[in-house]
Symmetry: C2
Subunit: 372 residues, 2 copies
C-alpha cells in the first residue's frame, strides 16, 4: 500500500499564564506546547477525526516521512492511504505527550520562570494530565467529537483514560496491549530503569542539560525495556545463542553473543534520541495509572464510558499480558458496552503491537468502518 | 523438624603450582581454595554422600547456623535431621563455587603473582571448571561415588554438568528449576546486569578493592535479578499497588510503592554481601553454559549420563521456564535413562525452589530413598 509522503510536525501552545493547567498533583503548569502531526483530510462536518496515542518513547511522528528521512513514522504500517487507519477516509492526529521530549513541553523544555530547562522542577504528571492537554488540541482543531481514539502500550492507557474522561465526545475506542492499572511487576521494571538513570553520576539530579548526558544509565534502562518488549520465544528465534563474528566464546568480558550486541546497540542509540528526564517522568506517569484508584471496582471505573471498544492483546506479551485485557473486557461488558476483544496469536511479545500489522489491520479497519 | 546446630565452614586448597588447573579457556589457575561445609556423618563405606550446589549469589553455608547468626543457611528448610536431605541418613556437602566470593577462590582473592586481588586478571571460568574443582574436593574427602548431586538454578546447571562429566561416580542427580543451555533471554538479563555494574564509575575496570565498591551498579543488577526471581502473580499478590506509609502518591521521585521499596532494599543489602566481580564472572559462566555446544543434539549431550534423574520445575518460573525442563526430560528419556519429572504448581516464580519446601521435600526424599 502507498505511504503518505512528506509530513511535517506542527505546534500548538495553550495554557498561557495566567491560565496554567492545574495538574492532577495540584501543581500548575504553563504555557504548554504540543507537537502534533495530522494525516488525511478533516471532512466538512469534522466527523472523521481519529486521535492516535504513542507509546512511552515514541512521538508525534506516527506516519509518512519527514523531509530527507529514510525511516517513516512509528505506525506507518497502520496509518496511510488504504491502511487500517485509512487516510483516504479518516483525519488522523498524533501528538507528542506532555512530559515528552519531541516537541511537546517536558522536563527538557525551558522553564519560563528561570530561563533554564525545567529538569526536576518539572511537575510530576499523570496519564490524565497528558489526556487533558491533548483534549485542548482537539478543541483547538475545532473537533467536537472524535470518531476514534486508539493506542498501544502507554497509548492504550491514554485511550482508556480518554474513554472515561471525555465519553460525550468519543464514538469508539481501541486499546491495544495495555492495562487499566500498572501492576507490581510493571512498576518494578520501571523502577529499575529509573534507578539505573538516577544512579548515573552524569544525571546530576536531572540538571545535566548542556553537559554530559547520563548515557550509561539510559542505556541500561533501555536494555531492560527491550527485553520486556520481546518474548522469550522471539528472542530465542531471533538470536538464540548465536555468536558474534569471531564465532567462538571470547573468555573475556567483551561481547560474545548477538543478543548482547543487539541490546548494547539499542541502549546506545536510545541515548541519542531520548531525554533521560522524560523517561523518568513518563514511566512515573504510567506507574501512577490506575483507573480504579478512587473506585470500588474496575466495572465502576468504566461506568462513565459510552462508546464501543476494540481491545487487542497478544499471546506472548508478558509486559502487558492478555489476562489484563480480559479483565478490561469483562468490566466493559459489565457496563453493557459494545466490546470486541481480539487475542492475536503472536510470538513477538509486547512489540507485536508494532509488528503484527496484517491481523491488526484487519480487525482495526473492520471495527472503524462501523463509525464512518 | 529440628535444625542442625552450629556449623562451620572448612577450607581445602588444591592445584598448588606447578599443578595449576587448566581451565576450559586454556588459562591456568592455582592455587585454588574451596570453602565448604558438611552436615551429617559420612558412613563407613562412604556411600551416603550428597553434593549440593548453590545458586548464583549463594554460598557453602547451606544449612544450620554459623556461631552467633540468627539466620540459617540458604537451604536449611531442605537439609537437616528428618528433612528432605536427611542428615540422619546422608552426609551432605556444599561448597562455594570457583569464582565466588564466600571463601572459595574468585576475583576478590589475592593473586599470588602480584600480591593484589585478581580483579579482571582472574580468568573467565565455566560451569565445567566449577564442577572440576568440586570433584577435587570430593576426591580429597575420599569419596569415590556420590549418592546424589542436587541443585537449583545455577546449582542445577552444575548437577547436570556433573552427571555427564563424572557419570561413573554418581548414583543419582536432582536438577531443579534449571536448563541445559542458557537462552537468549537468560543471557540478555545477565548482560544488562553486567552492564549496570560495569557502567558504575566505581567499578574502575574491576580494580575497586580497598576503594569504593560499585554499589549503584550492583544494586541495579540485583533489582533486575529479583524481578526475574518472582512471578508476575507473586509480585502482585505480595505488593500489588500498595503504597508506602504515607498512603498517597508523592508526585515526586521518592518511593511511592512498596514494590519499589522492596527492590531498593534488596539491591542495597546485596551490595554489602556480594562481590561485584564475582557477579560478572559467575553470570558469564552461566551464559556460556550449553551442554549441546559440541554435540549435534541434547540427546547426544546426555549420552554419557548413567544415573536416574529427578527433574523439578515450577509452573510460574519464567526465568527457567518448565518447557526447558521438559526438553531435558525428553532428551534424558531418549537415552533410556530412569527419569522422574515433577512440575510443581506454584505462584512463586523461580524463587519457588527455595520456598516450595513441602512439595519439594516429598519428591526429593522419596527419590533419594531409592539409593540408600
Amino acid at each position: 500500500m502507498p505511504d503518505l509522503g512528506v509530513v511535517t510536525t506542527q505546534f500548538f501552545t495553550c495554557h498561557e499564564p495566567p491560565h496554567e493547567l492545574k495538574l492532577k498533583s495540584g501543581e500548575r503548569l504553563g504555557p504548554i506546547t504540543i507537537a502534533y502531526e495530522t494525516y488525511g483530510q478533516l471532512n466538512a462536518d469534522k466527523s472523521n477525526a481519529i486521535l492516535v496515542f504513542h507509546s512511552l518513547t515514541s512521538d508525534a511522528h506516527a506516519a509518512g516521512y519527514h523531509e530527507g528521512d529514510k525511516k517513516p513514522g512509528w505506525w506507518n504500517t497502520m496509518i496511510g492511504p488504504g491502511k487500517a487507519f485509512d487516510t483516504d477516509k479518516y483525519f488522523v492526529i498524533c501528538a507528542n505527550v506532555l512530559g515528552g521530549c519531541k516537541g511537546s513541553t517536558g522536563p527538557a523544555s525551558t522553564n519560563p520562570k528561570t530561563g533554564r530547562p525545567y529538569g526536576l522542577s518539572f511537575p510530576v504528571i499523570t496519564v490524565e494530565d497528558m489526556v487533558v492537554v491533548q483534549k485542548q488540541l482537539i478543541d483547538h482543531l475545532g473537533i467536537s467529537t472524535l470518531l476514534n481514539v486508539a493506542g498501544g502500550s502507554m497509548g492504550g492507557l491514554m485511550a482508556l483514560e480518554w474513554s472515561i474522561k471525555y465519553p460525550e465526545s468519543l464514538r469508539s475506542c481501541i486499546a491495544i496491549a495495555t492495562n487499566t492499572r500498572h501492576t507490581a511487576q510493571q512498576i518494578a521494571l520501571h523502577e529499575v530503569a529509573r534507578r539505573a538513570i538516577m544512579s548515573d553520576p552524569d544525571w546530576e539530579n536531572g540538571d545535566y542539560y548542556g553537559k554530559s548526558i547520563p548515557a550509561r544509565g539510559m542505556a541500561v534502562a533501555r536494555m531492560i525495556g527491550h527485553i520486556t518488549y520481546m518474548s522469550e520465544k522471539s528472542m530465542d528465534e531471533k538470536f538464540g545463542r548465536k555468536l558474534m563474528k569471531k564465532e567462538k566464546l571470547g573468555y573475556d568480558f567483551s561481547t560474545d553473543f548477538e543478543v548482547e550486541s543487539y541490546l548494547n546497540y539499542r541502549g546506545e542509540s536510545f541515548v541519542q534520541r531520548f531525554d533521560a528526564n522524560s523517561y523518568l517522568y513518563l514511566s512515573k506517569a504510567l506507574d501512577y495509572f490506575d483507573i480504579t484508584a478512587e473506585k470500588t471496582s474496575l466495572t465502576e471505573a468504566f461506568a462513565p464510558a459510552k462508546c464501543p471498544f476494540l481491545v487487542i492483546s497478544f499471546s506472548s506479551d508478558w509486559l502487558y499480558p492478555p489476562y489484563q485485557s480480559k479483565q478490561m473486557v469483562k468490566a466493559l461488558k459489565a457496563n453493557d458496552l459494545d466490546v470486541s476483544a481480539i487475542l492475536i496469536d503472536s510470538s513477538y511479545g509486547h512489540d507485536a503491537f508494532l509488528i503484527e500489522v496484517e491481523n491488526q489491520s484487519k480487525v482495526v479497519s473492520h471495527f472503524l468502518q462501523r463509525f464512518i
